[in-house]
Symmetry: C2
Subunit: 298 residues, 2 copies
Amino acid sequence: MKTNLELYKVFYYVVKNRSITGASNELMVSQPAVTKSIKVLERDLNTTLFNRNKTGVTLTNAGELLYNKIKKSMDLIISAEEDITSLNNMEQGTINIGAGNTIMQRYLMPYIREFHELYPNINVIVHTVVTPELIKRAQVGLVDIVFTHLPNDVPSNFKIIKLKKLHDILVVNKDSKYKDKTISKNDLKELPLVLLPFDASNRKNFNHFCSTNNIVINPLMEIGNDLIIEDCALNGLGVGLVVREYVKNNLDNKNLFELKTSFNLKEKDLVYLIDSNRMNNTIVNNFIKLLEHDLEVI
Amino acid sequence: MKTNLELYKVFYYVVKNRSITGASNELMVSQPAVTKSIKVLERDLNTTLFNRNKTGVTLTNAGELLYNKIKKSMDLIISAEEDITSLNNMEQGTINIGAGNTIMQRYLMPYIREFHELYPNINVIVHTVVTPELIKRAQVGLVDIVFTHLPNDVPSNFKIIKLKKLHDILVVNKDSKYKDKTISKNDLKELPLVLLPFDASNRKNFNHFCSTNNIVINPLMEIGNDLIIEDCALNGLGVGLVVREYVKNNLDNKNLFELKTSFNLKEKDLVYLIDSNRMNNTIVNNFIKLLEHDLEVI
DNA sequence: AACACCTCATAACCACAGGTTATATATAAC
DNA sequence: GTTATATATAACCTGTGGTTATGAGGTGTT
């Protein structure tokens, strides 16, 4: 471009006010500053833009020609700035949240509802696919924030923030023959386990335990939904492998009972991941605030 | 506006190059200067516009949102500047020329033809109405340049530039009984004069002479076109009051003869007028150059 | 006609925004 | 490992874009 764009801003306001003095007031600078700016613009464009009268200024033909497009241009800039303001004010935009079924249903649901109530104009898109696919999408920017369980493979460019400690437990209903038994490692092979599919992030911890202890389990069922596993246990259909924190209600109500074990399943983490190259998204930050607000309470 | 518009220029080039270094090259400034500008823009807009990678930068959602309109805005500015360039290069635009019939036919025609050949893309509009109306139009900007004869009433805000000295003369054809007579003031009353209408600018000089000398003429004809007056004289229809310079050809060819007079009609000026508040119009300046080029030759 | 009150232009001066160079850090490419 | 390349940071300097004071030229009111 031929000249400093600030000069077009000044030009725009001089035309708007049909006066150099008027523009100087609106721009909150001195009148000679505006006079100088217009002179520089005229020099740079090698043309005369204004007829100077003693009552103000009027556009020359060249000025008119320039103003046609400069007006549109300045209006676009003003509008673009308003867009950013409204984005900052959470008045528009989209958040792409990645989370598997389990985390979605057991953890995220209330936050998403709260977020939507707080910011009704933000479009929330939830990607419910397996964690590796979520990470792929996050790396190309399709997903802003990924929720998953650790341990898990996470590329180094992701920042990992822990939300909650979770505990894998075995549960049955009050009529189960296992209800008061203490389960040993060896017992696991015989148990009619109801579990998530092998590659579910929520099963990684258990898989790891089995393989390091050379235990080959013989599941009764593998189901892609944590709620259904809980339901199975409630209905006496085998022994459910679930997360204690997720089935707290039914444990408290004595609808489900946690089996004692002679071994110790490591605790695991509920976390979210953010591509460290894509931090500082206002909308995502506001979503995270909701989660963290909750953390403080705990 | 929230920030310095130069920053949007920098932003535009960074997006275009997908790189801060690339933008710095295109803008011909140092890389740290661009880094700084983007940081300031991000601070002013209170948002993060780019994800910094080691291979360049990519837009955040907010950056994308901003770029939608900033691109259009910058393209408009570039286009506006091209408009001015093409105006400076006489590739577009309009000139409004004001001149009565006589000046148009006797003087301006060849210049307008030459102007059109030189600048075929400039739209030429000729206003052929009486001088007072031309001056009105010039004062509201409808007419860029007014051609007329002096003496005449010209408002003080017009700059007057003299083009040619003109001389009012009386002419007849070779068969006229007046051909070899020397005309006195008193003879004027009796002559079968063929003249322009009373209010024509080209007649002002003669009117003035008559009134200061208390001569009441008795015209044979008043005609609004100078060429027809010449024709009348050629055909022996009275004594034509014409401008010597305008009928030069027929005088040289001995088709017309200038009557000797015992009095002296003042010489008068062919001039153009420009509203001093509306000078410096590229197109008008180029038109004037044609006229002045001719003046030097004379 | 004299007056106050506008306009824009000019001059002399000053501060800091926006540039500079040099260097650090991290990653990609080979 | 080594090299090349990306952005970030720091310290410094210069010229743009601001300032105040003043002037010249018009309008409009009494």
